[in-house]
Each structure stands twice: as C-alpha cells, then as structure tokens.
C-alpha cells in the first residue's frame, strides 16, 4: 500500500501530467485561432512548452488531440450556454441567445473549420459535429419556446431549421470576414433576422 509521501508524489505527477495535457490542448486551439491551418506536433509542443514526446504520451496521434480539443471546446460552449437561462421577454431572450452564439462563433470558428475539413477521415469528428448541431438546435428550441409553441408542427420545424441556418459558424464568418462587419453589427443582423423569423410572442 502506498504511504503518504508516495501518494503525494503520485498525485503530484498526475496533476502535472493533467496540466501538461491542458497546455497542449490550449496550444493547439491557440494555433488554430491564429490561422495555422494544420498545427504540427512540433508547433504544438513548442507553444505548450513541452516536448513532442510529451504530446504523444498524452495523445495517441494528432487526430486524437483534435477530438479531445473538440470535446473541450464543446464543454466550454455548453458551460457558457448554461450560464444563461431561458427566461425573460422576447428581446431579452433574443439578446441572450444571439450574444451567446456570437461569443461561441467568434471563439471557436477556427476549430469548427478544422473539424469540417477533417470530418471525412473520422466518425469521431462526424459524431461531434452532429452533437454540436443538435445542441445548437436544442438551445433555439428552449430559448424561443413561447413563440414556437404557437406554431403547428411543420411550421415550427421550418422556423427552427431557418434560425439554425442563419446562426451557423460560416454565416458569422461571412459577416465578420467577407462583409467586414464589427461584432456589434453582426449581432444586430442576427437579432433583427431572428426577430422577423419568429412569430409574435403569445400574451402570458
């Protein structure tokens, strides 16, 4: 049985290993955000302040790292989303939803693009993409439940799909990159559009 000091040494090693793993994930995501299309193990290791060997001690290959980074980003996105509740009048809910979505798109667009480029090679990535889309859709349903509840099923589904199309990552990218809109204006575009797509809010 391990004694006190041995246990502390083991825990310390595990803690350092977990910190290194997190540093590797953070390095990978930072490189993507900075525009590095396909970060190499050497680039990731340098950024994380560790050796390439350390990278492959924690991730079997770069694909595994990409999947782990996606899971980490998804958790962060989910945590951000659950900070916000689904209460409030129409305008309040619109601002909560669009503000949160804009934050996610601004932060995670490079990772999203990387996922889509590489999804053909991996059912892991495809399933993550599917889960992310489902989560986005669920959030729309919850945030605009009062309005959507007034619609017959077909129209409700059409409205959900239309809103989802609108708030896609690439739509955000086009507004910011191609049209050169500042964040505030891009948010305004989404607010106005979703407001038009939704039916009137029922009187409570």
């Amino acid at each position: 049985m391990a004694s006190g000091p041995s246990l502390r040494r083991i825990d310390g090693r595990r803690l350092r290993s977990a910190r290194t793993k997190q540093a590797i994930l953070d390095a990978y995501l930072a490189l993507l955000r900075e525009g590095t299309q396909i970060p190499t193990a050497a680039q990731i290791a340098e950024r994380a302040g560790c050796s390439v060997r350390s990278v492959f001690e924690r991730f079997s290959d770069l694909h595994a790292l990409r999947v782990a980074a996606t899971d980490y980003a998804f958790l962060q996105g989910t945590a951000k989303a659950t900070e916000q509740d689904f209460t409030g009048d129409r305008q309040t809910r619109l601002k909560k939803h669009v503000g949160g979505r804009a934050w996610i798109c601004e932060r995670w667009l490079p990772l999203w693009r990387s996922l889509n480029v590489n999804q053909g090679e991996s059912s892991d990535l495809r399933s993550r993409i599917f889960l992310i889309r489902q989560a986005i859709l669920k959030r729309i349903e919850l945030m605009y439940r009062p309005e959507l509840s007034t619609l017959p099923e077909t129209e409700r589904r059409q409205t959900l799909v239309a809103i989802e199309s609108l708030i896609d990552f690439e739509c955000w990218a086009r507004m910011r990159e191609d049209s050169g809109l500042p964040v505030e204006e891009a948010v305004e575009v989404w607010l106005t559009a979703i407001d038009r797509l939704l039916p009137p809010t029922p009187v409570s």
Partner: protein, 218 residues
Amino acid sequence: MTANNAEAAGGAAERRTLRIDGRRLRSERTKQLIIEAYLALAEENSPHVPTAAEIAQRAGYSVRSIFERFVDIRALQVAATDYALVQAAALAPLRDGDGDRRTRIRSQVEVRARTCERWLPLWRSLVVNQHESEELKRRVTISRERTVARLEQMYAPELSTLSDLERRQTLIVLEALTDVDSWERMRKHFDLSFDEASAVWRQAIDRLLPPTPPPNPA
C-alpha cells in the same frame, strides 16, 4: 514565283494551318475531358482533391497530358471551378422577375434549390479547400456575389423600401439562409426532402423581406 508555285505554296500553308488548328482542337478537347474527369471525381469524393493519377486514369490520358495543359493541380482546380460556375449560371436563368411576391419567392427558391442540389459536392470541395488558394477563395466570393446579385434582382421591390444599411443587412441574411451549406444541412442533417427544404426557404424569405410596396400607378 509562278502562279502554280504560288498556288502550291498557298495550299501547303493552308494544310499547315489546318493541321495546327486540328492539333489545337484536339488539345482543347483533351483539356475539356480532363476538366470533366476532375469534376466527376471531385463530386464523387468531395472534399478530397483528386490526384493527377486519379484524374488521368478517369480521363483516359497520361499524367503528362494533364501537366502539358495545367501548370499544377491547383490550376486545374481553378479551371474546373470556372467551368462549373459558367454551367451553373447557364442552368439557372432568372425567371418570373416581374411576378408578384409569392411567384418571385417560389421561382427564386426553386432555381436556387436546384442549383444547390446539383453543385453541392463540388461546392463542398471548393469551400473546404479554398483556404489553400487565393484563386479558389476568389471563386467562392464570385459565386456568393452572383447569388446576392440574383437576390437583389428578384426582390428589388421589397429591398427598395429599405435604408442602405437595412438593405445590406437583409441581403447578408438572405444569402446566408440560401447558401449551399444551408441546403446541405437541411437535406443531410435534418433529412428534409427537396420539397420540405424548399418550403423552409420560402417561408423564411417571406418573413425576412419587408412588405411589398404597391405597384406604381401607370
């Protein structure tokens, strides 16, 4: 030079011209077949970019034939994209531009839906690979600009009632809504039929557009 000699020289020159023209024609046909082979493979295996060997085999030519006509695969990709853009435009003429609101929405959505359905695999390949090439990126931009131009034409009456800022923002939203990616998601992720997906677009466009102004009195 005698008249006979001049005639003979003229005939020889003409025969040389015909041979050169024939060679050019054959070369152009080969080039076209290579482009079509690339497009077929790009569609089948999107977003994977076909290799020179794959294209050569499909086209029935040598790899050398490809690089005699295209400096590299990127140049072939660009040429193929240009060809596809021309085809897409030719197959999607503007219709019912003078119709009422409902007719214009129905017509624009139908044409756009058919375009997306036809070109989705190639579009996917183009978008995924655009970041590797400024020329491909430019083609993506051109394609989007054409979509916006079509929206401006079809919904001119409604857009004319908006301020410049509102008009710009409405066009951004309409273009995003009717993007090829959006079509792909509706058909593949949401599993909507062609008609169901078209209905989503019709309903959404109708809600996003401002009211149609009354026609000008004659």
